[in-house]
């Protein structure tokens, strides 16, 4: 097994994200699976930001717990990250900027002073070029071939910036040669592994999945950590023929998407918890008018503005309860870009088949971090069915016809002879309101109940059409982790490290968090010996849902709500505690 983690730290504006993406891209092109963590703050300049590129085999599903190389652009980066460095690690810094005292170095960690500013000055007065020299040194220590670093740097500058790209390549070479002259590669340095992989964020996978699913319309209002879904689709709108609309607010965004869907195209919106709170009323309108809709809710730490750049799974209750009254919905919760891509394919199909809103729950940890995927993991050959579900036949058309499945034939505006009004008021099978002069009249009281029953019946079909809970790891293990969404990544890595220590565990993950089929869920839990629920929220929202829907009560929990992602070592420690002491 191989595992190498490279960190870069500094202030916002220092170019940390570019360093991290460049190193991640190099490792991914070498054929390694990569997990790239982008830890930033809600500031444009200053503060402390860092990026970690972790590569290895088996595939890293989280940021891991330790790093091997640190490129520190300021003293604070040393103070913050030195404790996470494994013995044998190296800190790259420029002594012209700041010195590192031996007493600041953990045991077994050394500092390598690289004259990055001096290297940069040979080319330009712009100090940002120092990063190329630093990356060159890091590349040598990490085992990244210099020619690959050159290639990635040139690709990142594109064809336009010939001179700037040349400077970067030159500075990278100088940094690389300096490191070769003064240090040896890290013990965990990686070589070329195989064919290049694709490196993408969860949001990019969501956007790609939407496009593959035939989405033709996105309306969105900027909000971290959902904005980059709009960025990717906007950048490809002309190529893919997708209308991307930045709306005046989230209210408009979801209503535009509902209008576009009513008009006949697959449509979506995306937001975070604050924006989703504004969309709540419209979500119910999509349910009431039976208009297909996909909403991506990328959670961040709340409540209110909360921690805009930090992660949490605190919006599950909101997603479950969003909207007055009751209407059918599903909540899909991918944990990885591959799953995010597939979740979007599934979400659009579910929305169209069941004519109701489908939520895809992401969070900052999945949305904004980058992970590798193999090309075959994201199939693009997806059949996009025609939307027309009914043709005029001269008979009385009922848009909300009572059916066993609850799904009624859907006409689109422009189809002759099928005119109807989609009403947010309660209505009969034709769509005629029963909310005013008919309300309270006995036959219409009955009609209301029938119409509620019709809509809610769809939940049975949705439950059967969604992905059931899935097992990973050996059957009959002593401990079963239970998780949903992005925290699954840390659980996967924790399972691997527990297995190394001879502790067999498995994972029951929930790609669909709602609806849950009680019989299915109970049968799965019957196979578990001892359980440990992992969630990134205060109250164990999924645990409560599980108990309410299925009667399964998980008493041992690891709940994290400090804004930081779950780390594998935290999962390991809690698992050992539960196994040794019976939890609590």
């Amino acid at each position: 097994m191989s595992d190498l983690a490279v960190r870069a730290g500094g202030q916002a504006g220092d170019g940390i994200q570019s360093i991290g993406e460049t190193v991640s891209r190099c490792l991914s092109r070498m054929g390694w699976h990569v997990f790239g963590l982008n830890a930033y703050q809600s500031v444009i300049r200053g503060g402390h930001v860092w990026f970690q590129a972790r590569a290895g085999d088996p595939r890293p599903y989280s940021q891991g717990d330790q790093a091997d190389l640190l490129y520190a652009l300021d003293p604070q980066s040393v103070a913050v990250h030195a404790p996470s460095l494994r013995a044998g690690s190296t800190i790259v810094h420029d002594p012209e900027k700041f010195a590192i005292a031996d007493s600041d170095l953990p045991v077994g960690v050394r500092a390598l002073g690289v004259p990055t500013l001096e290297i940069a000055r040979k080319y330009t007065s712009q100090s940002i070029l120092q990063n190329a020299g630093g990356m060159g040194a890091i590349a040598f220590l990490a085992g990244i071939p210099l020619d690959l670093l050159h290639e990635v740097l040139r690709d990142s500058f594109g064809k336009k910036a010939g001179e700037v790209a040349d400077w970067n390549v030159g500075a990278a070479s100088a940094g690389y040669e300096f490191a070769r002259a003064h240090a040896a590669p890290n013990d965990h340095a990686l070589g070329r592994k195989g064919a290049p992989k694709l490196l993408m964020s969860g949001n990019q996978a969501i956007a790609l999945g939407a496009a593959a699913a035939g989405c033709k319309f996105l309306a969105q209002y900027p909000m971290t950590p959902a904005s980059s879904i709009m960025h990717w689709l906007a950048a490809h709108a002309q190529t893919l023929g997708i209308v991307v609309k930045q709306a005046e607010d989230e209210l408009a965004a979801i209503h535009m998407a509902i209008g576009a869907s009513f008009g006949g195209v697959r449509a979506m919106t995306a937001t975070s918890g604050g924006g989703f709170s504004l969309m709540v009323e419209a979500l119910g309108m999509a349910g009431m008018t039976e208009t297909p809709l996909v909403v991506v809710e990328s959670q961040r730490a709340g409540p209110s503005t909360g921690l805009p750049t930090k992660t949490e799974q605190g919006d599950l209750n909101l997603m479950l309860g969003a909207g007055q009254g009751e209407f059918p919905r599903a909540i899909l919760a991918p944990s990885h870009p591959v799953e995010a891509y597939q979740a979007m394919l599934r979400a659009f199909q579910l929305a169209e088949d069941w004519q109701t809103p489908i939520l895809v729950a992401s969070d900052l940890h999945l949305s904004e971090n980058v992970m590798t995927v193999d090309r075959e993991e994201i199939p693009t050959d997806v059949e996009v069915r025609s939307l027309f579900t009914v043709e005029p036949n001269g008979h009385d058309y009922q848009r909300y016809q009572y059916t066993d499945s609850g799904v009624s034939p859907r006409a689109l505006p422009g189809q002759p002879g099928l005119q109807f009004v989609a009403g947010s008021d309660e209505h009969d099978a034709h769509g005629h309101l029963i909310s005013d002069v008919k309300s309270g009249i006995p036959i219409w009281v009955t009609e209301r109940q029938r119409m509620m029953d019709k809509r809610m019946r769809k939940l049975h079909g949705i439950a059967a059409a969604t992905e059931p809970p899935a097992w990973e790891g050996p059957a009959g293990a002593d401990l079963t982790f239970v998780a949903w969404g992005s925290t699954i990544g840390a659980v996967r890595d924790a399972r691997a490290s527990l297995a190394e220590r001879g502790v067999a565990t498995n994972l029951l993950r929930f790609p669909t968090v709602y609806p849950l089929d009680p019989a299915v869920v109970q049968a799965e839990f019957a196979k578990a010996k001892r359980t440990l629920l992992i969630e990134a929220n205060y109250s164990g929202q999924f645990g409560r849902l599980l108990r309410a829907e299925t009667g399964v009560h998980l008493t041992d929990r690891l709940l994290k709500y400090d804004g930081e992602p779950v780390y594998p070592h935290e999962v390991v420690a809690r698992a050992v505690e539960v196994l040794n002491h019976g939890g609590k």
């Binding site: 290049p196 694709l198 490196l199 993408m200 990019q204 790609l208 496009a211 593959a212 989405c215 033709k216 319309f217 309306a219 490809h236 709108a237 002309q238 190529t239 893919l240 023929g241 997708i242 209308v243 609309k245 709306a247 005046e248 209210l251 408009a252 965004a253 209503h255 535009m256 998407a257 509902i258 209008g259 576009a260 869907s261 009513f262 008009g263 006949g264 195209v265 697959r266 449509a267 419209a282 309108m285 008018t289 995927v373 090309r375 693009t380 996009v384 939307l387 689109l412 505006p413 422009g414 002759p416 002879g417 099928l418 005119q419 009004v421 989609a422 947010s424 005629h432 309101l433 005013d436």
Partner: protein, 299 residues
């Protein structure tokens, strides 16, 4: 101006063509409500333009007037309070072969929906928005609205309104609407002309209609308007003159203008949205097939 390859709404001809008419749902408005005149004008305009009902979507929010889509034989979307316009915009972008008409009241459009109103106008979406402005909340039984006049006593303002009313015409001019008109439901003939002109206009057409509430607004009655309104077209107003339009918009009191304040040509949002140049979105291919090369950027 960008060239659009999108086909304009066809105006079919022939005897077999279905024409818009009343639906089998009877209006629930109070006898004498101004909104009867508005639904008659919308129906009349669509008939005159020979737009078949299946190519029309009437979109509304919530309020007495927002029930309008139910009373005509076109497609309709009767949504939630204040949100008619973004739904209407979404429908247009999905299928810009459709004629889309937004309808609603002053509370719906200028209160809870004011943000959407301003933005739909600045982006010049090609739709027609008809507001039935009765200067009161009727469906919720008589509270002040954004266009209630200073001093008006309502259930929510028993000692009189102390906020300056919104001037929808001035707001529309300031927001970049390219067709700005005011009608009076007491003059269905002129109103029909204004609505038809709005539907034919390429871009955002706004028609604010004095549509008196006979139950809850005892100030701004049919008689109130009959005594005050005069027609811009009879007063020598030039609707291409933005300065003159502003001057007319500010007139309020003994003389209140109705008619077309302003009309100009500007590319619509649909003209400028390049993706729509390939035709209505719902007729375009979907999916990643043929676009697999977008994956290359991730290597």
């Amino acid at each position: 101006m960008a060239e659009s390859s999108a086909q304009p709404t066809p105006v079919p001809t022939g005897p077999a063509l279905p024409v818009i008419g009343k639906s089998d749902t009877k209006p629930t408005w109070c006898p004498g409500c101004g909104d009867f005149g508005v639904v008659a004008a919308v129906e009349g305009a669509l008939k005159r333009l020979k737009i078949p009902p299946y190519n029309v979507v009437i979109v509304s929010g919530i309020g007495c007037s927002s029930n309008l889509p139910h009373f005509l034989s076109s497609y309709g979307f009767h949504g939630i309070h204040g949100r008619a316009l973004p739904v209407a915009e979404g429908i247009r972008w999905a299928n810009h072969g459709l004629t889309v008409i937004g309808t609603g009241g002053d509370g719906d459009g200028f209160g809870i929906g004011a943000g959407h109103f301003v933005h739909a106008m600045r982006r010049n979406v090609d739709l027609t928005y008809v507001t039935m402005d009765n200067q009161i909340y009727g469906l919720t039984t008589g509270q002040a609205s954004p266009t209630s006049q200073m001093g008006q006593k309502t259930k929510s303002t028993p000692t009189g309104v102390i906020e300056n009313p919104i001037d929808p015409i001035a707001l529309a001019l300031a927001s970049g609407a390219t067709y700005v008109a005011r009608g009076f439901s007491g003059d269905v003939k002129q109103l029909t002309d204004l609505v038809a002109g709005g539907i034919q206009h390429k871009g955002f057409a706004f028609v604010d209609v004095f549509s008196p509430c006979v139950t809850y607004n005892k100030v701004n009655t049919f008689d109130f308007f009959r005594q005050r309104v005069y027609k811009l077209e009879s007063a020598g107003h030039d609707p291409s003159d933005i300065v003159a339009a502003w001057q007319r918009a500010l007139e309020w009191g003994d003389k209140i203008p109705i008619g077309l304040f302003y009309r100009t040509e500007r590319p619509s949002y649909e003209d400028l949205e390049e993706v729509l140049h390939a035709g209505p979105l719902l007729r375009q291919p979907a999916g990643l097939k043929g676009h697999e090369s977008v994956l290359d950027e991730f290597v």
